[in-house]
Amino acid sequence: MDFSFTKKEEKFRTELRTWLEANLPEGWLEGKRDLPEDLDEYSRVLRAWQNKLYEGGWAAIAWPKEYGGRNASLMEEIIYHQEMVRVKAPPLINYIGIHMVGPTLIDIGTDEQKEKYLKKILTGEEIWCQGYSEPGAGSDLTGLKTRAVKDGDHWLINGQKVWTSFGHVADKCFLLTRTSTHPEKKHRGITVFMMDMHQPGVETLPIVQMDGHKDFNEVYMTDAVATDADIVGQVDSGWHVLIALMLHERTGIGAELFTLEKQFNDTVELAQQYKVNGKPLIENPVVRQKLANFYARVRGSLLNYYKNLTTTIKNGQPGAETSIDKLVVTELNQALSAFAVEIQGHQGVLFDKDAVADPKWQHLFLASFGQTIGGGTSEVQRNTIGERVLGLPKDMGR
């Protein structure tokens, strides 16, 4: 057992930290972290930030050097996330391009595709979104109904996607479509297209969430066009592409866990600073007990992540156990943000400018409801753990 970092890793951390201190937007480290409300302006600022990362060589550290990455080790990726959480860095607008589409293309894309897309992903010139979920295909993606039909030398795509994050700013979409029907084997007949978002057949509409944010979009396709060259992998073999892509999303949960730890530390600070009748909450025995309880759970989740990471490093690929991390972090996040609102008493219902403490707690609480649903509901996660980790028999629904 060894929790220390190697000299190389420490050097990497120092290098990144120094770069961030020099390059983060002005005032950012001191707490001036407001991003523009206006969507175009917001997108412009974040594209600029991504380009800055690219120029510094920090846009896609896990990519091979030949494609503009640093060939970073898993541990370096972890350090990268830790540092980004530490400085509360601006969001990565091309998260999907950098962490999902890019690595997948590097893995199974054609030379032309690599040539055409990779550089623009890095620079932020082309922002990517994913077209997965549909109104009738949520937990069960195989229920998708968006169809791509060959029409001469191009494909015509018709259908609707929902929960497309970055859909409103994206230039390209990593799109799951049905190209043939196999009622008994619904995983077959799916094809992945890289669809241009800027064409007459594509329309996006924002989804208003319960927390008032609009992080996701509906995407409507009416005779949208793509070509054979836009297909990732083979026709009808999209499910394999999807699995390859998921394997590349190897450290996203780490970032979520570091954020969770940060939220927990902020909760402790809240309890130390928020006073009721002039007395800090932290002196309340029930609050103390609950903080101790959360401490165990948060530390336990983080340590468990390190345990799985060790296995991943040793085996060269993540084991099924990593599915536990996603379940734990989302449910814990929900409980923690509810607690942070709850300890503010009835005044916890005050919002935005009137919030008695940082209004982020109320926002986090509402946003937490999406986390146990998005990217696979907790119910689906439990099925996965039961079947893949424990070897229990498959659910009858599939």
Binding site: S133, G136, A137, G138, S139, D140, G143, V162, W163, I207, V208, Q209, M210, G212, K275, V276, N277, G278, V286, V341, E342, G345, H346, Q347, G348, V349, L350, F351, D352, K353, D354, A355, V356, Q362, F365, L366, F369, G370, T372, I373, G374, T377, S378, E379, R382, D395, G397, R398
Partner: protein
């Protein structure tokens, strides 16, 4: 033994439900998010026409002189559609306090107008960074030259724009914590500085109000000076019985939403209600609803008696309801999946209201201690 509402009470429920459905149910709450109280005001007028405002008011003040139990259908139906407004504060807090502690003049002045629906009263108790406890009340009412002067700030006062008057909890004696408070009834006047606050539950409007040397006449004080906290407890019994009914109505709506959605939504080739994870989650919601309903019906019966478990029953009904409302409304989002996380579907309205009422006028530990103490343990 007959532990059920009467046929008349159930018939009355039918009228209320029909009326609220006509206004689109939760649409009323949604209109308040957009600061549009037109339909809500119409609903209140109709409620008055149906006689709701006078149900628990004595006949001599133009009421029907019925019991808390007769208000249950109204509160449950309002909860079902999350109707905002001050009906609960007025009928279940102010009226019981006035009936028990008000002077004849105060009753004459307020009760007939409340019965007719012309007067709605809000309750100003909580103060910034304080809790709902005697120690948390620091707004001062001081006797000066034969009159009283009020100073201080109240936070999270509900639905100020709909209020015709405020019941205000104030400190009249600095030396004693519990027995140094008083209740005053103040008609809305320009002398009160009102500042709208941003609410987590946008369909429930709240405001900060400031009193700056506001002059109060002696006859605005309800009951005995310095005994306001004790008097308030009597009002809180009725209020919490009513609140538990309102929440039971809301929970029923949530359980229905989840059940119906689980029957029609298909994934993996099955209605999701067929999966035990979903099915058992909804069953737990249903069990919590039924227990909450039973506690609440009993609470509304016992509050008008002098049974030994009067306090324990009412506060148990309240704490059970607020706690389980949070739980079932959260599960409802999860069962709906992605769509449950949007503003489009009603799920979030219930989540937010559950949070709103959770610690309104007292937290769960506050009431649990009251339960245990009232039983002499």
């Amino acid at each position: 033994m007959d532990f059920s509402l009467t046929e008349e009470q159930e018939m009355f429920r039918g009228h209320i439900r029909k009326m609220l459905d006509k206004f689109g149910g939760t649409q009323l709450a949604r209109e308040m998010i957009d600061n549009n109280p037109q339909n809500l005001k119409k609903v209140y007028t109709t409620l008055a026409e149906l006689g709701c405002g006078g149900i628990n008011i004595p006949e001599e003040y133009d009421g029907m002189d019925l019991d808390a139990l007769d208000l249950v259908p109204t509160f449950e139906e309002m909860g079902r559609s999350l109707v905002p407004g001050l009906f609960m504060e007025t009928s279940a807090l102010v009226v019981p306090i006035l009936k028990k502690y008000g002077t004849e003049q105060q009753k004459q002045q307020y009760l007939p107008n409340i019965a007719s629906g012309e007067k709605l009263v809000s309750f100003a108790a909580l103060e910034p960074f304080n809790d709902f406890s005697p120690a948390g009340i620091q707004c001062t009412l001081v006797r000066q030259d034969g009159q009283y002067v009020l100073n201080g700030t109240k936070t999270l006062v509900p639905e100020v724009e709909l209020a015709d008057a405020f019941l205000v909890l104030v400190r009249t004696n600095q030396t004693d914590q519990e027995d140094g408070l008083s209740l005053v009834l103040i008609d809305k006047t320009k002398g009160i500085n009102i500042e709208k606050q941003s609410s987590f539950d946008e369909s429930k409007h709240v405001a900060k109000i400031e009193f700056n040397n506001l002059v109060i006449k002696e006859d605005q004080i309800i009951g005995e000076v310095d005994k306001g906290w004790t008097q308030l407890q009597e009002g809180l019994l009725y209020f919490n019985a009513a609140l538990s009914s309102y929440i039971v109505g809301a929970m029923e709506s949530v359980v229905n939403m989840a059940t119906e959605y689980a029957k029609i939504r298909e994934q993996f080739g099955q209605a999701i209600g067929r999966f035990q994870a979903i099915k058992h989650s909804i069953v737990n919601m249903k069990v919590n609803l039924e227990i909450a309903r039973s506690l609440s019906h009993y609470a509304n019966w016992v509050v008008d008696t002098d049974e030994l478990d009067r306090e324990a029953a009412v506060y148990s009904a309240r704490t059970y309801a607020t706690e389980k409302f949070i739980e079932v409304s959260a599960h409802n989002v999860q069962i709906h999946g992605g769509i449950g996380f949007t503003e489009e579907i009603d799920c979030h309205l219930y989540v937010k209201r559950a949070r709103y009422y959770d610690q309104y006028l007292g937290s769960t530990p506050f009431y649990q201690e009251k339960v245990v103490a009232s039983l002499g343990w």
